[in-house]
């Protein structure tokens, strides 16, 4: 489609106006996080701080164990991502490349689990983790202690594999040419070798997409850490931020500083790996 200069300018202008509305909350967040307290409670609002209060960040970080939250979230999100990449790709390889009885039925069943809302399973999973025998002070019947609550495995295991990831990777594996594999088989390469040395290296874009998706989803996850962790030392950033908010309801300077810190890592990941985001969504959208 060819557009005239006037049309083009109008279009850009229109998109830019909407874009300002999209960006404004972020700018306001950053601006508030750097203001002295009296400029926060000022009407009409002060757009930019008269003196930039970088100390707000230090004070926010001291007011809650954000350092610990950061470590917890990093461990949680990284482990969930690694587990998903490994387990989803292994399952996807079997579904895409190996023949066995009941394969297609099983695949449909796995996809079918996407229909089950997490809220149906969350209560039993919580109970199972709490009653996990012989850990966290539990006896062999799972009584007496807190089981896997407030532990990394409790946070990570239930999110370690996903039907969406299996689906995404299987679709990608199906598009890979078979010649390389056949050649490798003739050379005596095992299935595990083909998976590890041929399929995975060829699938870097799909793995990157799934990895980035899983990581940001885990980084932003709220409900699950809310159920599993009650100790401050095990909280994730999202949870820590919410608790922080309930304690410092009117300290908007500190709250916004905390929000910036929690938001920044995913924003950086997004800006660095943008094409993987859009490609991943496009893949899920078209095939869905």
């Amino acid at each position: 489609m060819r557009l005239g200069i006037a049309r083009k300018t109008l279009l850009h202008l229109l998109l830019a106006i909407g874009g300002v509305a999209m960006i404004l909350p972020f700018l306001w967040m950053v601006s508030t996080s750097l203001k002295p307290e009296r400029e926060i409670f000022h009407y009409p609002p002060v757009w930019l701080p008269s003196a930039w209060q970088w100390g707000n960040y230090g004070r926010a970080m001291e007011s809650a164990a954000f350092g610990q939250y950061f470590i917890n979230t990093t461990i949680y999100a990284t482990m969930v991502t690694v587990a998903n990449l490994l387990l989803c790709s292994m399952a996807a390889y079997a579904f895409a490349r190996l023949r066995f009885r009941g394969r297609d039925t099983l695949f449909v069943l796995v996809l079918g689990t996407m229909m089950i809302p997490a809220q149906v399973t969350m209560v039993p999973v919580f109970i199972m983790l709490k009653r996990c025998p012989l850990v966290g002070g539990n006896d062999w019947l799972g009584m007496g202690g807190h089981g896997l609550l407030n532990t990394y495995p409790g946070l990570i295991l239930p999110a370690a594999v996903g039907a969406f990831g299996i689906f995404l990777l299987r679709q990608f594996f199906m598009t890979l040419p078979r010649e390389l594999e056949d050649a490798a088989r003739i050379d005596g390469c095992s299935e595990a070798g083909i998976y590890w040395r041929i399929i995975l290296p060829l699938s870097k874009p799909a793995l990157a997409t799934l990895g980035i998706f899983t990581f940001t989803a885990a980084w932003n996850e709220f409900l699950w850490p809310l159920l599993i962790t009650s100790k401050d030392s095990m909280r994730t950033l999202q949870l820590g931020l919410q608790v922080f908010q309930s304690q410092y309801t009117t300290r908007w300077d500190l709250l916004m500083a905390g929000t910036v810190v929690v938001t920044l890592p995913v924003l950086i990941i997004f800006l660095a790996g943008q094409r993987y985001f859009t490609r991943g969504i496009a893949m899920s959208g078209i095939k869905g």
Binding site: K8, P117, T121, L157, F222
Partner: protein, 321 residues
């Protein structure tokens, strides 16, 4: 991780395929085990729990369908669960149609193939990657009744209107999240803002799948912009629209984090949602049985809505030759 790298010595076809099947199950085993442990078993357990009274301290007591009967009573008495259903429906009706229309409009604009358009795409996508907790807090601050940017915007608007019309117009500051009549709408606006970029990208992918030659043919036939949209774009986007509709409705029926952070269901239960009720009953009131029954009601609702939307959007598939 790696199994022994033996060559396929034997030539028997049956043996080879048996080995292939065994390898397949080895590859599937860890993933499937987790599915069984964290999806299949819990679903069955949830069904059992929904027929019990269970407070996690004492062992479950079988009560038959009593939890479901209580849900029925609550619905007919317009109790809290009824309110949560109503609020969730309001949230869905508020976010889904407007969100989809805006996303489609944006996708059409962004698809026009301008230079520098990717900047806009990034901008609109930005809120999608940020966490609901963080973004909810930012919007609470925007909605602040005394010092919030939104009420300031209303004041600026009143001044502008007064200036243009010559009459003194004054839109009073609103309490937004503190007002039972406005709180859900406030959450809806925030949620549309956050989800816009996601649906835009899916629509964009759909638009890019439409063959260019159809538009060229339509142009030769002298079709107007609107005619081209009606006859080509809209019908060919139908699968995309169906997909977005189903995922948006499912997502909307599970709304929780923004409610929990921004209002915790208040004021006067005006923003409590189904998942918020499940969460409260299970983990605040320790009524795990009742909460599981609610979760199954949610399951049935999601299942039914998905089937209905799929059925509705499947009719009239277009073929293009």
């Amino acid at each position: 991780m790696r199994q022994g790298e033996k060559s396929r010595g034997s030539t028997g076809v049956g043996r080879a395929s048996k080995r292939e099947a065994r390898t397949a199950w080895l590859f599937l085993a860890p993933g499937l085990a987790l599915f069984v442990l964290f999806v299949l078993v819990p679903v069955v357990a949830a069904l059992y729990l929904s027929l019990c009274r269970y407070d996690i301290i004492h062992s479950p007591v079988w009560v038959g369908a009593r939890n479901y009967a209580r849900i029925g009573e609550d619905l007919s008495n317009h109790g809290v669960f009824y309110l949560s259903l109503r609020n969730t429906a309001q949230y869905a009706l508020g976010t889904v149609p407007v969100g989809m229309a805006l996303a489609l409009g944006l996708a059409l604009l962004v698809n026009a193939g301008l230079r520098g358009i990717s900047v806009h795409r990034t901008t609109y996508y930005l809120p999608v990657v940020t966490s609901l907790v963080a973004i909810s807090m930012v919007w609470m601050w925007l909605y602040d009744p005394s010092y919030g940017l939104l009420n300031y915007g209303l004041e600026l608007l009143s001044r502008a209107v007064s200036f243009v019309t010559g009459h003194k117009v004054m839109i009073p500051p609103q309490t937004w999240l503190g007002n039972p009549g406005q709180a859900m709408a406030a959450i809806v606006v925030m949620s549309i803002w956050r989800g816009l970029g996601y649906n835009m990208v899916i629509y964009l992918a759909g638009l890019q799948g439409i063959p260019e030659h159809l538009y060229e043919a339509a142009l030769i036939d002298g079709a107007s912009r609107w005619q081209r949209f009606r006859a080509i774009t809209w019908p060919l986007l139908k699968p995309t629209t169906a997909f977005i509709l189903v995922t948006s409705v499912i997502g909307a029926s599970q709304v929780f984090a923004q409610v929990y952070v921004m209002t915790n269901g208040g004021p006067n239960n005006s923003t409590t949602t189904i998942v918020h009720q499940i969460f409260q009953n299970a983990f605040s009131f320790l009524k795990m049985g009742y909460a599981s029954a609610m979760a199954f009601v949610l399951f049935v609702i999601i299942f039914a809505l998905s089937l209905i939307t799929l059925r509705l959007t499947r009719g009239g598939q277009v073929e293009y030759a």
